[in-house]
C-alpha cells in the first residue's frame, strides 16, 4: 500500500478541514487525531511487512539454492554409489568365472597328466616288446642293454641333466639296435671280418631303427639314438657322417656306453676285455670317435667305481639270463 493509497483512504473518510459554517461535532478533533495516528501505524506496519517479505524471499532464495546444490550433489553421490556397486558386482562375477576357468584348466591339466602317464606306460610296454623281439633275434643280451641304459643314465646324471631327461635318455638308449631285427642272421652273427657289402647291410640297421620307432614324441630321443649311435665326433661314422654337436647329445652318450660295454663283453668274435682295457680305448677315442667332454665324465665315473658297481648290480638282478650266459 503506497502513501497515496493511504491519503485516498483518509479522504474517503473525509477528514478534510471542517467547514467553518458547520458547527463542529463534539469530539471530531479527537477522531481526526486518532485517525492520523492509525494511518501512521498502518503505514509503518505495511513497511515492516514489506521488509519482512523481502527478507523472507531472500532467505527462501538462498535456501532454495542450497537445496538445489545439495540435491545435485546427492544425485551425483547416488549415481556414483550405483556405479560403484555395479562395478563391484561385475568384478566379482569376473573373478568367479576366472576362478571357475582356472579350476577347469587344472582339471584338464590333471587329465592330460593322466593321459600322458598312460601313454608313457604304453610306450614303455612297447619298448619291452621291441626289446624282446630284438633280444631273441640278435642274441644281444638283455644284460647288455640293461648295462648300457645304466651307463647312459649315470653319465647324463653326472652331466647335470634334469631327472626327466636322464630317464628319457635311459629308456631311449635300450632301443638303439632295434633296427637289427632286419639284419640277416649270418651277418649279425658272423665270426669273420665283414665284407664291404655286408658292412653296408649292417649300416642299414640305424636307418631301419629310426623308421621302426615311428613318429610319436615319446620315441623322439630313441629315434635320434637309433639313427646316430654309430656316428663319430670327427664325422667319420655312419650312416650320415654327422660330426660334433650335429649328433644329438643322447646319441653321443649312448655311443660311448655301447662301445664300452661291447668291448668288456664276450662277443662271437672276441673275448671280454677288462674294464681298464675298455676304458683305455674310450679315452683314446676322445675327440676322434667320441665327444671329449662326455669321455671325461665317463672316465670320472670309472674312477669312482661306478661302472663296476653297475655291472655287478645288473648281473645280480638277472641271474637267470640264459641268453646272456650262452652267447657265443
Amino acid at each position: 500500500m503506497s502513501d497515496d493509497d493511504i491519503k485516498n483512504m483518509v479522504e474517503t473518510v473525509d477528514v478534510s478541514p471542517r467547514d467553518p459554517d458547520v458547527p463542529e461535532a463534539p469530539g471530531a478533533d479527537v477522531f481526526r487525531q486518532l485517525l492520523h495516528q492509525a494511518v501512521r501505524v498502518a503505514d509503518m506496519a505495511n513497511a515492516q511487512a514489506m521488509r519482512m517479505a523481502l527478507d523472507f524471499a531472500k532467505v527462501y532464495e538462498r535456501e532454495q539454492g542450497v537445496r538445489t546444490l545439495f540435491e545435485a550433489q546427492l544425485k551425483q553421490m547416488t549415481l556414483m554409489e550405483k556405479q560403484a556397486t555395479r562395478y563391484a558386482e561385475d568384478l566379482a562375477g569376473m573373478l568367479r568365472s576366472e576362478r571357475e576357468r582356472r579350476q577347469e584348466l587344472e582339471r584338464a591339466l590333471e587329465q592330460e597328466r593322466i593321459a600322458s602317464e598312460e601313454l608313457r606306460r604304453t610306450g614303455l610296454q612297447g619298448i619291452s616288446h621291441l626289446l624282446l623281439a630284438a633280444t631273441i633275434k640278435d642274441r644281444t643280451t638283455g644284460t647288455h642293454l640293461q648295462r648300457v641304459r645304466r651307463y647312459v643314465e649315470a653319465i647324463a646324471e653326472r652331466m647335470g641333466l634334469p631327472g626327466a631327461l636322464v630317464e628319457e635318455f635311459g629308456y631311449s638308449s635300450v632301443m638303439h639296435d632295434v633296427g637289427k631285427i632286419h639284419t640277416p642272421d649270418h651277418i649279425l652273427q658272423s665270426e669273420h671280418h665283414l665284407s664291404d657289402d655286408e658292412f653296408s647291410v649292417i649300416k642299414q640297421h640305424c636307418i631301419d631303427g629310426e623308421r621302426m620307432l615311428g613318429t610319436a614324441r615319446f620315441f623322439e630321443t630313441a629315434r635320434a639314438i637309433a639313427r646316430e649311435h654309430h656316428e663319430r665326433w670327427d664325422g667319420k661314422g655312419y650312416p650320415d657322417g654327422k660330426k660334433g654337436e650335429e649328433i644329438s647329445l643322447a646319441a653321443r652318450i649312448v655311443s660311448i656306453a655301447d662301445v664300452f660295454d661291447a668291448l668288456t663283453s664276450k662277443r662271437p668274435y672276441k673275448d671280454a676285455w677288462s674294464a681298464e682295457a675298455g676304458l683305455k680305448v674310450i679315452e683314446a677315442g676322445a675327440g676322434e670317435r667320441f665327444d671329449p667332454e662326455i669321455v671325461a665324465g665317463f672316465v670320472a665315473l670309472a674312477k669312482e667305481g661306478m661302472l663296476e658297481r653297475i655291472s655287478s648290480e645288473v648281473a645280480a638282478s638277472q641271474p637267470d639270463d640264459q641268453l646272456g650266459s650262452s652267447a657265443k
Binding site: 551425483q76 549415481l79 556414483m80 550405483k82 556405479q83 555395479r86 562395478y87 561385475d90 568384478l91 569376473m94
Partner: protein
C-alpha cells in the same frame, strides 16, 4: 592402438572409465566439460568419443555430439553416449544427434569394453 576421449564432469567416473579402458591397451584422453571435449576432439582426433550428457555449464553431451557430427573433419568419429538419462526420449535425442551407441549409468566394465570393442572392430 586406439585413442579414446572420455567427457564427464565427475572425476570418479572419468577415473573408472580410464582404468577400465586402459586394461585393453587403449589410450585415454579426458575432458571435464562440453567445450573441452569439442576442443580435444579437434586437436586429438580420437578413434571414439564417450560423452556424458550433463556436464555443468557449456554445451551438454547432445550438443557436443551434434557439433562433432556437423564438422566434416570429425563426423566419422563414432560417439557413445554414457549417461544417467535413461528415458526412451533421451535415447532418441542421442541417436538423433548422431550417437552410435547409448549406454546408461550405472554401466558395467565388461559392457563398456564390449561396446567399444564392437564399434572399433567395425570402423
Amino acid at each position: 592402438m586406439a585413442k579414446l576421449l572420455v567427457a564427464d564432469d565427475l572425476v570418479p567416473i572419468r577415473q573408472m572409465v580410464r582404468i577400465t579402458l586402459s586394461t585393453q591397451g587403449w589410450t585415454i584422453v579426458e575432458a571435464k566439460n562440453g567445450n573441452e571435449a569439442l576442443e580435444l576432439v579437434r586437436s586429438e582426433k580420437p578413434d571414439l568419443v564417450l560423452l556424458d550428457v550433463d556436464m555443468g555449464p557449456g554445451p551438454n553431451g547432445f550438443d557436443v555430439c551434434r557439433q562433432i557430427k556437423a564438422d566434416d573433419a570429425t563426423k566419422d568419429i563414432p560417439v557413445v553416449m554414457l549417461t544417467a538419462h535413461e528415458s526412451d526420449s533421451d535415447r532418441a535425442i542421442g541417436f538423433a544427434a548422431g550417437a552410435t551407441q547409448y549406454l546408461t549409468k550405472p554401466f558395467g566394465p565388461l559392457e563398456l569394453i564390449d561396446t567399444i570393442r564392437g564399434i572399433l572392430a567395425h570402423s
